[in-house]
Symmetry: C2
Subunit: 394 residues, 2 copies
């Protein structure tokens, strides 16, 4: 039987990272390729206690169908939290609980983008989101990254040149894969540009709470006086990813379309998980949990940067980080990044090659991404040491 697939999926490939995830399940391999948060920071005891109580006191509520918009107490708690903590949410905004922030990308694209329309994104950017955009037949145009966020001159040029731009996708905090954080000044300029061009911004903030050094910078959504920003958040990095709970704050009109799309996609998000998130947010000391989590990440990032300094730098350079999950490493001029990554796999260390994150994967890249949060300290150091042995000494 010859199957006819839809045009939108014909050219789609599985995410290189998700595929490596399978390779990484080989116990003798060292995976520095995942985007997994540190399991040492999962609030396991609290989740177990909450879960036991929910299934004892409100089992039917946990197990029966719920509304598509999400568990009402969680929606209120997240709204309040975002309002108080980040100044997010105005009278025209609504909130939707999603099955991970990935679903925000999906629902926003489904609601706003026709096949052939353009989505602007940082170059490089998170391949999971790029693949979602591709799966709706969107044309992608990359805006080059600079140390303080995307190049806004290049953004304006793209806005002049491209037709049917439906939104700009950005990860302003500890961007995936580069770890770069957009400066406050650039956020303000970006919002001004968005206003001028009636440009919607899809602001993806999975890592904002993982800042272990420096000062928080207000999200773009906090400046959104005009209903231009769709904000995506998630509990994957601050509670746990396996529970698949994210959320979206956006103008009510957009939320309504996303709700209809979600009805047809998975009806609603797993209720046990939503109720666990609610209890952690409202009835535990969530602030103390975040502090503990930050100290885990701070310590672990230090282990990684010490190893990077010792075994890789200066031949392989890397950007210092103040939060997030990744180090972005760049090979010296002339080195072949793809054969470097292949050699790493042969030596049973997995990193993600930089071209994976480009809008056109066939373009060259001299960088690769390292995740420092998933491996044990021992494997992290050993993995970086093995990477250091690949390049010949000068």
């Amino acid at each position: 039987m010859d199957y006819l697939f839809s045009n939108r999926v014909k050219g789609l490939k599985p995410s290189a990272i998700r595929e490596m995830f399978k390779f990484a399940s080989d116990p003798s391999a060292i995976s520095l390729s995942a985007g997994n948060p540190a399991p040492d920071a999962f609030p396991i005891q609290e989740i177990a206690k909450i879960s036991e109580r929910l299934l004892r006191e409100k089992p039917i509520e946990v197990l029966q169908y719920g509304v598509t918009e999400g568990y009402a107490p969680l929606r209120r708690a997240v709204s309040n939290y975002l309002q108080e903590k980040h100044g997010i949410g105005r009278s025209f905004d609504g909130i939707l609980i999603t099955s991970g922030a990935q679903q925000v990308m999906d629902l926003a694209t489904k609601s706003l983008v026709n096949e052939g329309d353009t989505i602007l994104c940082e170059a490089p950017s998170f391949v999971g989101s790029l693949n979602t955009f591709r799966s709706y037949g969107a044309k992608l145009r990359g805006i080059p990254m600079e140390p303080d966020g995307m190049n806004l001159t290049a953004l304006e040029r793209a806005l002049e040149e491209e037709k049917n731009v439906r939104f700009l996708y950005t990860i302003p905090n500890f961007q995936n894969p580069t770890g770069i954080t957009m400066s406050l000044q650039k956020r303000r300029r970006l919002y001004k540009i968005a206003k001028t061009y009636h440009l919607l911004i899809l602001e993806d903030n999975p890592y904002g709470a993982l800042r272990f050094a420096g000062e928080d910078i207000p999200p773009i959504k906090s400046m959104d006086t005009d209903g231009l920003v769709i904000y995506a958040g998630t509990f994957s990095k601050v509670i746990a990813p396996g529970i698949r709970v994210g959320y979206c704050v956006a103008p009510q009109e957009i939320i309504q379309k996303m709700v209809v799309c979600k009805q047809g996609e998975d009806v609603h998000t797993n209720l046990w998980a939503q109720m666990v998130c609610y209890e952690l947010l409202e009835h535990c000391d969530f602030g103390a949990h975040l502090q503990r989590l930050k100290s885990v990440y701070r310590r672990k990032a230090k282990v990684a940067s010490d190893a990077l300094d010792r075994y890789l730098a200066p031949r392989i350079s890397y950007l210092p980080i103040q939060g997030g999950l990744f180090f972005w490493c760049t090979l010296p001029n002339g080195a072949d990044m793809l054969s470097f990554c292949q050699e790493a796999v042969k030596r049973k260390v997995c990193v993600v090659s930089g071209n994976t994150f480009l809008t056109d994967e066939t373009q060259p890249s001299s960088s690769f991404r390292i995740n420092y949060t998933t491996p044990t300290d021992e494997n992290l150091i050993k993995g970086i040491q093995i990477l250091g042995g690949i390049l010949p000494e000068k």
Copy 2:
């Protein structure tokens, strides 16, 4: 700000049923409109015990990212179960765990259907699936229902007339909304027609295990020697819907495309829920649980049909059932179904009007759907009694 939505979602409306679900949360209303399984049949104690053990023994596995295809032990357990119990699954088939069976409809449509392509479906059919098909810009053509399943002559006519038919959607057991089960003879003829026309069949079987009388009829997928059937199953009705776990068995090539789409949609299904389903299926007496569940449904269906006989029949006729969640009731000639349903809402009883389930909702229908599994016995009887009072006595 004027938002531009994609063509595919412009005309989408929220599911009438999901919207009524909100109304039904008014505690003084009697909802006969949901598609909720009977909460008395949820295996609450078992889930609580399993959950406690999982979070104690394998917390990281429960809480960390998993693979998109689904929790491997669950995939194996479901494959074995379907093979042994229903003869489902051949060497060319693969299995994917989804966030409810609704996601199977979504992923199959996304993978197979271009905007403007045709999907054939039973008329009437489950509005949740119809809305998913609509959300990808599919054209719907309804095939009228008969007491033993869809009219196959009408199906052949449609196949001759329609261009770019991508698949046929059917719920062969205790169909939603009519409760009709397709006869074995028709299933065989349908498969033969599919072979002749190279027609894919999307077989949705949420209610098959809820048969409390009569004999099981083999699923169409069990006859699938040619890789024509995409089979959707779910734990929503046999365990609980709030956990959102379904599955799909289909030719590996189709599964692969669906996996890529799922990566972009929600990465993977909630792991706690997948592991709970696995433990219930493999390490509890799942057969005994199903027997208990059937006895709950058998008893409850008797309460409903007694009340229907007493208060509605013969003025309002209904189809007797041997399983599933619904009674399909039809008003006498000349009665106005929409004003009947509106009057019911005024009297605080919620049913779903028949036109909701049509490919063209503006077409007339003289029927409405009753769910008997969600309300208490008392409310079920009282609700039906109130419905009986709406039509004037002859």
